[in-house]
């Protein structure tokens, strides 16, 4: 009987080892940092509006600088894993201009993706850079299209050859939609009121005209969803309160 038990135990261990070895993949070629920096900053590619499950239109570029603000070559930058998000490459050494570029494919759900790029300083302490990317769902995509058509002419400060911004012409400056500090103070119903009945409805600028007779209720909800999505800092809704254990 004892012998049987030993055989069973040995078989189990052997099977366990075989399974473990089968799942074990060859280690990735490790990158060795040849230098370290003291800060990591975003160069470009943050706060892009993308599609769920699709690659962002522009690469994400981050830069590692030393204490004097000069670019560091050969520092290791890793993009920390986040559910559904893929980076290509996920880790790389900074080039001669101190930069690392990666293409980002967002996860399959719409909303905000808070990514983290990490590097090490000379004392081994991790330097983190938080970058936000945004994936438009149906409602926010609709809001974005409405924004481009009706709102961006005043609320977007940037001009393009085909569309000149009206922002600088206005005596009272409109809030860009990403201006979370100002717009997060307004509730959804306040925003609905301003969009529907114009700025004077809440004692704000008369330069904001009423769009309630032009846009439908779903359109206005879509615009508010977009404003909440692109808001920086993000809106913290009072929402459900988590009970203390």
């Amino acid at each position: 009987m004892k012998r049987l038990i030993w055989i069973l135990v040995s078989l189990t261990l052997a099977a366990g080892c075989a399974t473990g070895c089968a799942h074990h993949t060859a280690p990735l070629p490790t990158l060795q940092a040849t230098a370290t920096g003291s800060t990591i900053v975003e160069s470009s590619g943050g706060r892009q509006l993308g599609t769920p499950g699709a690659m962002l239109p522009r690469p994400l570029v981050v830069q590692v600088n030393d204490a004097h603000g000069d670019a560091v070559t050969g520092a290791l930058v890793e993009f920390l894993p986040l559910e559904g998000v893929t980076f290509d490459p996920a880790a790389s050494l900074t080039d001669s201009s101190g930069q690392v570029s990666t293409t980002v494919t967002l996860g399959g759900t719409s909303g905000r993706y808070d990514l983290t790029a990490a590097s090490m300083d000379k004392s081994g302490k991790q330097l983190n850079l938080h970058i936000t990317e945004l994936a438009l769902g149906y409602q926010t995509q609709l809001g974005y299209q409405l924004d481009r058509n009706y709102c961006a002419r005043c609320h977007d400060r940037e001009s393009s050859p085909a569309r000149v911004s009206n922002y600088d012409n206005l005596a009272v400056k409109p809030h860009p939609f990403a201006d979370g500090d100002a717009l997060n103070r307004l509730s959804d119903s306040d925003l609905t009121t301003i969009i529907s009945y114009g700025g004077p409805a809440l004692n704000r600028s008369a330069l904001m005209p009423p769009y309630g007779a032009t846009l439908g209720k779903p359109d206005i909800q879509a615009l508010i969803a977009l404003i909440r999505l692109v808001s920086g800092p993000p809106l913290r809704t009072p929402g459900p309160v988590y009970a203390r254990r």
């Binding site: 599609t51 769920p52 499950g53 699709a54 690659m55 239109p57 559910e83 996860g107 399959g108 759900t109 719409s110 909303g111 769902g137 149906y138 409602q139 995509q141 609709l142 299209q145 409405l146 058509n149 009706y150 002419r153 005043c154 050859p161 085909a162 569309r163 000149v164 911004s165 009206n166 600088d168 012409n169 206005l170 114009g198 008369a206 330069l207 005209p209 009423p210 769009y211 007779a213 032009t214 779903p218 909800q221 879509a222 969803a225 929402g239 459900p240 309160v241 988590y242 009970a243 254990r245």
Partner: protein
């Protein structure tokens, strides 16, 4: 008998009770498998996780009340839907969970449809009736319907919505690319309502190509269209030198002379043509509205505004002119500028009324846009009869006549597979190449980007699509499903049928020459680069329109002007103006209902105050150029000489009723305010326009 059985039982088992117990035990085990499988099922584990997730939330009571255990199913027999997805995705209908928690417990983002009316698989595909994750999402037993990747999700909207939706830009772009890049000239796409998707590109006829260009250019172009023009819509057939040689020989030999008088020989004046004057005329004629030229830095200037700026551009822009001098013959260029329809009766190029001197300097300038490197290494021997015969066979084999009109060769029928249901193409019919994901979306995307990788014998040429364009095209193709044909017809929203509207009479002929419909839309037909003119006769004053046609200008202060000056004669302008004022009227508007002048100063002043205070119109419009700053709406200085008072009044009451989609909001202006604002605006006269008599 019984005794024998009992004795053999005892002999075998010795104890009569023990075997009964053993058999009963195993029977019990066997019977408990089914309830145990149910008890420890995957979906039950997810439901327990969900209950733990919501347990500590502030809205736990509401969420727990909404929660229903067990298998949950949406059953819609009419749509052939039996979806059990909500069994695991327990929080799908909870708005408070849209941004909370992780999958599979997130609430569904807001969409215009109810879950219980459409189910899940109509949009997301997958196996709705399955109750395990693997079976539901990517069943190896049913590979026909794996879950649709999120990046192509807009394809599902396209199963019912055959019109462009504002919330589906990728689908809209894909459909636009299908129509603009010639896909529909080889592939047939039938829609559920029986109509066909139609191409909107405008490929050149090749009947008279020898008059236009040289065999050497055709040879170089066939080998690599992108080498001549990076923005070329003609795909790359990766043609061998021999094939390009023989096809170019055939096309030149097959070409017949242009009808009518022979092309004029370009005058060889002793003085060099004035290139600078030609460049000035090129600018003043707004050629860049349609044609792009690549500058020294390699950037395209002018031409196609791109899908970002014009997602529904319905017309193909003009070809890039960076190296046009290396392509066309000078005599042809001059004749083309004089009357483009002589060469191509379907061209979008308007017939400008240029003088002989202008024709000369403009063609000299355009012909100066050459690239000496392009044809420097092309040396072709005279064509032989065998090469010409082989060229004809190759033209048929490559299917050139699917797009181009070629003398003696009819358009091939069913040249490429029909794509009406390609979004449901059976898995067994897909041929994958090594290393690619084995799914239909990956197959379609790969085929669009690298068709030749799927086999050297395939006829599909190589396009230079960006990854975004390939995704958009894949989305459009994935929308062409079997399901779109089987869904109830009440759910189908058909594409708006195109009209064949053509202005009538002599003025209509003039408008066809000027090709007004290339940029303007009238009565449902035409481009969208410029304003819709269907109600222009109700909107504008006669004298302003006549002056505008004489010297067009942009009405918006910061808009790049596109409207060219066609150098119309006085009689032509009078004909066009009269036609517009008579024919293009809004039946609901009596343009003479309100006077053009004669408003009381007090009413004008009241309107001025309303304009600047209550309605703050100055945030978008300029009235006083010294004082106002705005860059959105049309400038309103001189509007009293441009528009009719009744149009302004009706516009103020409801702008969208007159021009759907206009950015100007409906401000619910009262009748009294609208009258005062109309009086103020009508008082803004333009001294340059002669006042109409009342």
């Amino acid at each position: 008998m019984l005794t024998r059985f009992v004795s053999s039982w005892r002999a075998f088992f010795r104890d009569p009770i023990l075997p009964f117990g053993v058999v009963s035990f195993f029977l019990l085990i066997a019977l408990s498998i089914v309830p145990a499988k149910d008890r420890f099922s995957e979906w039950r584990r997810y439901q327990q996780q969900y209950l733990r997730l919501i347990h500590n939330r502030g809205d736990a009571v509401a969420l727990q009340r909404h929660f229903q255990g067990g298998i949950r199913q949406i059953w819609l027999p009419e749509l052939a839907v039996a979806d059990r997805c909500q069994t695991c995705h327990a929080g799908l209908a909870e708005a408070s969970l849209v941004h909370a928690g992780t999958q599979p417990f997130r609430g569904h983002p807001v969409i215009p449809h109810r879950l219980d009316e459409f189910g899940c698989v109509i949009c997301h595909r997958g196996q709705g009736a399955a109750t395990t994750v693997a079976e539901a999402h990517y069943s190896p037993l049913a590979p026909e319907e794996p879950l649709l990747p999120a990046r192509y999700l807009e394809a599902s909207c396209g199963q019912c919505h055959h019109v462009a939706l504002p919330g589906t830009p990728k689908l809209n772009e894909g459909r636009d690319l299908l129509a603009r890049y010639g896909c529909l000239r080889c592939h047939t796409v039938r829609l559920p309502d029986g109509s066909r998707m139609t191409a909107t590109d405008n490929p050149q006829p090749l009947n008279h190509i020898a008059a236009k260009t040289t065999r050497e250019w055709i040879y170089a172009w066939l080998q690599s269209p992108s080498a001549y023009s990076a923005s070329a819509t003609m795909p790359d057939y990766q043609m061998s030198e021999e094939d390009a040689r023989d096809i170019s020989a055939f096309l030149i030999a097959d070409s017949e002379p242009l009808p009518g008088s022979p092309l004029p020989t370009p005058t060889t004046s002793k003085s060099a043509p004035d290139i600078a004057a030609g460049a000035k005329l090129y600018r003043e004629s707004f050629c860049a509205s349609c044609h792009a030229i690549r500058d020294a830095a390699g950037n395209l200037a002018g031409g196609d505004p791109g899908p970002q700026l014009s997602p529904t551009l319905s017309q193909e822009p003009g070809p890039e002119l960076t190296r046009i001098g290396s392509k066309v013959k000078p005599a042809w260029l001059q004749a083309w500028f004089e009357d483009p329809r002589t060469y191509n009766s379907h061209t979008l190029m308007p017939r400008y009324r240029w003088t002989p001197q202008q024709l000369k300097i403009l063609s000299a300038y355009v012909a100066s846009r050459t690239d000496l490197e392009l044809l420097a290494h092309v040396h072709l021997e005279p064509a032989t009869a065998q090469q010409i015969a082989n060229g004809k066979a190759l033209v048929i084999e490559y299917g050139c006549a699917a797009c181009h009109e070629i003398r003696g060769i009819s358009r091939p029928e069913a040249y490429a597979p029909e794509l009406s249901r390609v979004g449901s193409k059976p898995f067994a019919q897909l041929v994958f190449i090594a290393g690619m994901e084995k799914t239909l979306p990956a197959y379609l995307n790969g085929k669009i980007r690298h068709p030749q990788a799927f086999g050297p014998g395939l006829r599909m040429p190589q396009y230079n699509f960006t990854s975004g364009q390939a995704d958009a095209l894949t989305t459009a193709l994935l929308s062409l499903t079997d399901r779109s044909f089987t869904l109830p017809s009440r759910l189908q929203i058909p594409a708006q049928p195109g009209t064949t509207y053509q202005p009538a009479g002599h003025a209509g002929k003039l408008m066809a020459e000027l090709n007004c419909l290339a940029c303007h839309r009238i009565n449902g037909r035409g481009g969208d680069m410029a304003p819709d003119l269907s109600s222009e006769g109700s909107a504008v004053q006669h004298n302003w329109l006549d002056a505008f046609l004489k010297n067009p200008y942009t009405l918006r202060p910061t808009l790049i002007q596109h409207m060219p000056n066609f150098n119309l004669s006085g009689a032509e302008r009078a004909e066009l103006t009269g036609y517009f004022m008579t024919v293009y009227q809004n039946p609901d508007i009596d343009r003479d209902a309100m006077p053009i002048t004669g408003y009381s100063p007090s009413l004008v002043e009241q309107g001025r105050q309303l304009f600047y205070s209550k309605y703050a119109c100055q945030s978008c419009h300029v009235v006083n150029r010294q004082q106002d700053k705005a860059s959105i709406g049309p400038a309103l200085n001189g509007i009293g000489s441009r528009l009719n008072a009744e149009w302004i009044y009706r516009w103020l009451k409801n702008p969208q009723a007159l021009r759907p989609g206009t950015i100007d909001p409906n401000q619910n202006v009262s009748d009294a305010d609208a009258s005062a604002l109309t009086a103020f605006l009508m008082a803004q006269k333009d001294s340059g326009v002669r006042e109409a008599k009342q």
